[in-house]
């Protein structure tokens, strides 16, 4: 085991997969010589050359669309969208094309493509460098949506995404890039797509979350422990399709469920999670299901005071957890 950062885990996954399989290549804005604006692709250009670490023109629909063509041919492109906020011009390619290629061709063609997109706030990014856009991709059958929260999961899930036969949208929380460090095995491993993970075992309340807010929940759980309540924490990891079994199991475990995400509440992933729990185990709940989410405003403001107001933090999560535990 070695302790590395979340972004190093992503970099390692790409490097190891590119070394293992010559069909894997990277394309995107500034991913080559510069190594990416966040340095996720650092060193790949030097190691694998310009052809496999391709600086593209500044045009997101082409990045996605060209990657789709290459994936249909049989290559394994990893396309980087510089910020998830800028994915919008590529939505037609992702939703109408990548996600439907297998279905519309009756299984004849497929699209083994990964689109990486840094998302989330807390980095003074303002409206257009902070958004959580994952929910809008989470009712698109044909697409898989992944959002890891730890270096271990980030590396293992990215390797799985690269090897997957279908398109995977891979959301990386920007605040986690250097803020989160963790142990990663020195030997090859994968984390399967479609499986949630219990990050903390507990008896009194269940928290279901993903991404940066998983870390807030883990911190809050330590504090709550001192109040005499133990929290069970489930990290969704894959946002679409959801791991229904693990969600129901986690809800049953304590009968009190708090869903936490940075994305705004209405229409967020939390609603779907709540729907699954209501359908499968409503009568096993001991308290009304709660959601703690970002406010329903268009995006995170740039001003620091406003950004802090928008963002969740361990204290806000602790309060919601304590309230539910005491219900």
């Amino acid at each position: 085991m070695t302790i590395i950062s979340y972004i190093e885990a992503i970099n390692q996954a790409m490097r190891e997969e590119m070394a293992r399989d010559h069909k894997v290549f990277v394309l995107g804005e500034d991913v080559g010589l510069k190594g990416g604006v966040f340095k996720a692709t650092q060193g790949l250009y030097e190691e694998f050359g310009e052809a496999r670490v391709m600086d593209t023109p500044l045009a997101e629909s082409a990045i996605a669309g060209v990657a789709i063509g290459a994936a249909a041919y049989g290559l394994r492109p990893i396309a980087e969208i510089q910020f998830a906020d800028f994915i919008m011009p590529a939505v037609n390619q992702i939703v109408s094309e990548a996600a439907k290629m297998r279905y519309r061709s009756n299984g004849d063609w497929n699209c083994p493509l990964v689109i990486r997109a840094p998302y989330g706030g807390g980095v003074h990014g303002g409206l257009y460098h902070s958004q959580c856009v994952e929910a809008m991709f989470c009712n698109i059958p044909g697409l898989k949506v992944v959002a890891p929260s730890t270096p271990y999961d980030a590396k293992g899930l990215l390797i799985s995404a690269i090897r997957d036969e279908d398109p995977v949208l891979f959301f990386e929380h920007k605040r986690c890039y250097r803020f989160i460090k963790g142990e990663v095995p020195d030997i090859e491993y994968i984390v399967p797509i479609g499986k949630a993970d219990v990050k903390r075992k507990g008896e009194d309340i269940t928290v279901i979350t993903y991404g940066l807010t998983l870390h807030f929940a883990l911190q809050a759980a330590e504090k709550l422990e001192k109040d005499g309540y133990s929290a069970h924490i489930l990290d969704l990891r894959t946002l679409y399709p959801l791991d229904k079994e693990s969600i129901v199991e986690a809800a049953r475990k304590t009968g009190k469920v708090l869903i936490v995400h940075e994305d705004n509440k209405e229409g967020g992933i939390g609603g779907e999670v709540a729907g699954i729990i209501a359908e499968e185990c409503l009568y096993e709940l001991d308290a009304p299901l709660k959601r703690l989410c970002g406010p329903d405003v268009p995006a995170t403001p740039y001003n620091g005071v406003m950004e802090r107001f928008f963002m969740l933090n361990p204290d806000k999560v602790y309060k919601a957890m304590a309230e539910l535990a005491a219900f």
Binding site: A64, Y73, L75, S96
Partner: protein, 337 residues
């Protein structure tokens, strides 16, 4: 056959390296897609097919271009009128009829997509969708993949003049231009995007003019002249294969039918326009040429028409009686199984 010594006009096809047999095949394919198209309209008007998209008036552009490609290695990203392109790459009348009837056996999509949404891995035709022009970046990606894998295939992507306004056209063309990728951008300009005429779609004189912005040649040609289309597309394919990059070709075409079977073009086209254009019918022009150079005669013409009719009759009967997909097939092929 081909006593070209008796002809009154110049034999163009031999000069292009096309044999008499090849031009007769081109003629047969043009006629085949025209007659398939006509049949689908009859089937639509008699209530047997819910929807038709037409290629009538664009056959020379499609067949001429497709014959200039290598059907054993090149890739196609066609658009919804390209029956003439896909037939050259191996689709049959039966395949197209199965597609029109949306049968389980339809090689394009197993009945999932509307007619004209072509695709077939064994023919190297990438599956297409309805949002127009999304296929352009795909073609660039197929070309890029070929380069990365050390192959010398060319990708051919076609679209209408209306589609040349979409961002995906510009983004894809620019990408291919920057990386000098082997892509042929083939615009079938039939002068209408459903009801909106060229003058309200595009401010430049020719779609080919757009190529200058991407740093590669743009050529505008008469899309009703199958040999001219063949010649220019062949040159573009040769350039692409030699690593000299993409070419944009505008084939000026006619659209003899409404946009689709749900459209009534009398509401927006000047009266007599289609009749006037039909005087330059690409099939009549080619028939005339082939007769003039002595490759085609009345007898051969009848023989080909008879073969075409039989193909279509058999294809129609087969497709009409072929089974639909099972209802539960709706749930298949979302992810790898």
């Amino acid at each position: 056959m081909g006593d070209s010594g008796t002809s009154q006009i110049e034999n163009k096809h031999n000069k292009l390296g096309l044999s008499d047999e090849q031009v007769l095949n081109m003629y047969r394919d043009m006629l085949l897609v025209r007659k398939i198209d006509e049949r689908t309209w009859i089937l639509n008007r008699s209530g047997k097919l819910p929807f038709v998209l037409s290629c009538q008036g664009q056959e020379a552009a499609q067949i001429g271009a497709a014959y200039a490609l290598d059907k054993n290695k090149d890739y196609l990203c066609p658009y919804y009128r390209d029956a003439g392109v896909v037939i050259v790459f191996g689709m049959t009348a039966k395949d197209l009829m199965l597609n029109s009837f949306a049968r389980a056996e339809d090689p394009n999509s197993g009945g999932r997509q509307m007619p004209g949404h072509f695709g077939g891995k064994k023919y190297r035709i990438l599956s297409g969708s309805s949002p127009v022009t999304t296929q352009v970046p795909h073609a660039v990606g197929l070309a890029l993949a070929g380069r990365l894998e050390g192959k010398d295939h060319v990708t051919f992507v076609s679209f209408g003049e209306g589609s040349s306004n979409q961002g995906d056209f510009h983004e894809g063309a620019n990408f291919a231009g920057v990386h000098k990728l082997p892509v042929i951008f083939f615009c079938e300009n039939n002068k209408y995007a459903i009801s909106v005429p060229y003058s309200k779609q595009v401010a430049c004189n020719s779609i080919a003019d757009r190529a200058i912005g991407y740093g590669f040649p743009g050529i505008s040609i008469d899309g009703s002249d199958v040999l001219e289309v063949y010649k220019v597309t062949k040159e573009a394919a040769d350039r692409a294969r030699k690593g000299e990059g993409p070419t944009l070709i505008e084939a000026r075409c006619f659209r003899y039918m409404p946009h689709s079977s749900d459209d009534d073009d009398r509401t927006y086209r000047p009266e007599g326009e289609v009749a006037e254009e039909k005087k330059q019918d690409p099939i009549h022009q080619f028939t005339h040429y082939l007769k003039e150079v002595g490759v085609l005669n009345e007898e051969k013409e009848k023989e080909i028409l008879k073969w075409v009719t039989k193909e279509i009759d058999e294809a129609t009967e087969y497709a009409e009686n072929a089974p639909s997909p099972a209802p539960e097939d709706t749930l298949k092929h979302i992810y790898a199984e």
